[in-house]
């Protein structure tokens, strides 16, 4: 298997996800399959291939710096689980 449980734990911590032991085992297996699948690409010889920064052959898509209308605050806050009419409310952010 290409991915270790420790690596999955680390990634889950970065993603703020809590995994049970069972979930950890499942995720380790599934993530390994995904990585192994993509890893088939390394069978190709890419010595003469220039690295690609973007899938589209397109550059310099710009807009002019001009202010347009924003969302009404009530609309912006509409989907928030908690809000006080002005701000989104989240559990107090600790220093971590």
């Amino acid at each position: 298997m290409s991915i270790s449980p420790e690596q999955v734990l680390k990634v889950s911590r970065l993603a703020r996800l809590e995994l049970s032991d069972d979930e950890l085992a499942t995720m380790t297996a599934q993530l390994s399959q995904v990585v192994d699948y993509v890893d088939q690409l390394s069978e190709l010889n890419t010595d003469d291939v220039v690295p690609m920064a973007h899938a589209l052959d397109l550059t310099n898509v710009f807009v002019v710096d001009q202010v347009a209308e924003s969302l009404e605050r009530s609309q912006a806050l509409a989907n928030a689980p908690h809000a006080d009419g002005e701000c989104y409310l989240v559990p107090a952010v600790m220093g971590d």
């Binding site: 970065l14 898509v61 924003s70 701000c87 559990p91 107090a92």
Partner: protein, 491 residues
């Protein structure tokens, strides 16, 4: 300085670019709006919202980069820096990772008082990125929720990363002042620290000469410094703290993970914060929603031509063309582009750079400070002040009379000539002054004796009496006449 170590500092500066709209959407960047009134589906991370690059932001970034002598790669791209925090609704920040828009430049720092040698501080890179939102913590209750304002999400920032070339808190302050001045001249940011338009983080450690060779202390990132003075104080504190910690624990770089510490300005100390995640812990990858940016030699050259005169070149010009000292040129340039322009107009019209510098520093700048107004609002134009300075230069007015005239011009407007007339200042005929001196000397034999004995201070008393009789006399000339007459005095 004779500390038993060398301090090594690198600074990361985030400046907000002066665009009207955000980096990837058209919401306003205006400071001070009501919370969550300047957001759109992109700012608040709704699925399907797509970013489009603001051309002005890229061009301001180019200007700043060229001003900082950075190389401009002809190809640059956008990356996602992933982390989870309530003020970052998308779960990633659009930034630049391996192909930044500029790299490998420098900024020269100098101290006109000579407290350190003029040095080039390397600049590793300057890249564009979007800002996150703001968490408004409840100061009073610890249990209350945090309130999140996402107005700032997506505001364009230029992150300017110096090399670890800075060697003292004082140099750090000089670097920041010069950087801010440059960006002000380039007009790319208002650099207002109170409004968060300029933010500074410092990476600092010590190189200590120990018995077994040189030891480096663990690198600490210092945050929450809200003024240049705070940066200077925090670095001074941090150096002493690291030296003490090293003496106590012997821990060197590599023994412990990189630490983040926050500066507490009131207590004057740094406090430990979370351990710094390695950069690979912010899983970076290319942002598929944004196409890369390319730039041609011609476009770069065009921006370079538009930079205008920058602080270093202006200081040189003030010294070579107008004969100012290093210090005076630094003071004037340090006031920003508007004052420099005022000075140049004044100096050219007066034909005396030094005289113009004295008046700008002692009179114009003082008035601007006292009234808390900008140069543009100074009531006397450079050509009007030049008319006055020309009178001072040719001796028609002495300095203190000149000041009275300027005060009148400031209060009542009008030209120097009008002010002179209004104040009843008249050119006194030289013959009149000689006559007056003769009378005063005759009435004051002690002054005659003192002047003959070389006690030239005695002339001061005589000038005072002369002014009382005729306020328009020229003190310098009265002094000369009195000394000459006394020496020929027939006792």
């Amino acid at each position: 300085m004779s500390e038993p170590y060398t301090m090594v500092v690198g600074l990361e500066v985030h400046v907000q670019l002066a665009t009207a709209s955000k980096l990837f959407c058209r919401c306003s960047t205006r400071f001070g709006a009501e919370p969550n009134t300047q957001t759109c589906p992109l700012c608040i991370g709704l699925p399907g919202a797509l970013p489009v690059m603001n051309r002005e932001a890229y061009e301001l970034g180019l200007k700043a980069a060229l001003g900082l002598n950075l190389e401009i790669p002809r190809f640059t791209k956008w990356d996602r820096k992933s982390y989870y925090y309530p003020d970052l609704p998308k779960g990633y920040q659009i930034s630049q990772y391996d192909l930044p828009m500029s790299q490998n430049g420098y900024l020269e720092i100098r101290d006109p008082k000579g407290r350190f040698e003029t040095r080039r501080i390397g600049i590793n890179r300057a890249h564009l990125e979007e800002d996150a939102g703001k968490s408004l913590h409840d100061e009073a209750g610890a249990v209350a929720d945090s309130r999140i304002d996402l107005n700032r999400c997506g505001t364009p920032l230029l992150e300017i990363v110096s090399e670890p070339d800075i060697r003292s808190p004082f140099e750090a302050k000089a670097y920041l002042s010069e950087l801010k001045l440059l960006l002000t001249f380039l007009n790319v940011s208002d650099c207002n620290m109170q409004e968060g338009s300029l933010r500074v983080d410092a990476n600092v450690n010590l190189h200590i000469d120990g018995p077994d060779g040189q030891v480096a202390t663990p690198i600490v990132e210092v945050k929450n410094m809200n003024s240049f003075r705070a940066v200077e104080r925090a670095l001074t504190y941090e150096a002493a703290r690291q030296y003490d910690a090293w003496q106590e624990t012997g821990q060197a770089k590599g023994d412990v993970p990189k630490q983040t510490r926050g500066w507490d300005d009131t207590a004057g100390v740094t406090h430990g914060m979370r351990h710094k995640e390695e950069s690979s812990d912010y899983p970076y990858f290319p942002d598929p929603d944004l196409v890369p940016v390319t730039v041609t030699d011609e476009e770069i050259e065009q921006v370079r031509q538009s930079l205008g005169a920058l602080p270093a070149a202006l200081r040189d010009r003030l010294q070579t063309e107008f004969g100012l000292s290093d210090y005076d040129s630094d003071v004037i340039v340090g006031q920003g582009p508007a004052l420099v322009e005022y000075y140049l107009d004044l100096a050219q019209a007066t034909g005396d750079g030094k005289l113009a510098s004295n008046w700008v520093q002692q009179d114009v700048m003082r008035y601007l400070n006292d009234q808390a107004i900008a140069v543009a609002d100074y009531p006397v134009r450079p050509d009007q002040l030049a008319e006055l300075l020309t009178k001072v230069k040719v001796g028609e007015l002495d300095t203190s009379r000149g000041r009275q005239v300027l005060e009148h011009m400031l209060a009542a407007g009008g030209t120097a000539a009008e002010a002179v007339e209004h104040l009843g200042i008249k050119q006194v005929d030289a013959g009149e002054e000689v006559e007056l001196c003769r009378e005063l000397l005759a009435a004051n034999p002690q002054i005659v004796a003192d002047l003959q004995a070389g006690k030239l201070k005695a002339a001061g008393a005589l000038i005072g009496m002369a002014k009382k009789t005729n306020p328009n006399v020229n003190p310098g000339r009265v002094r000369e006449i009195a000394i000459e007459l006394a020496n020929q005095w027939d006792t």
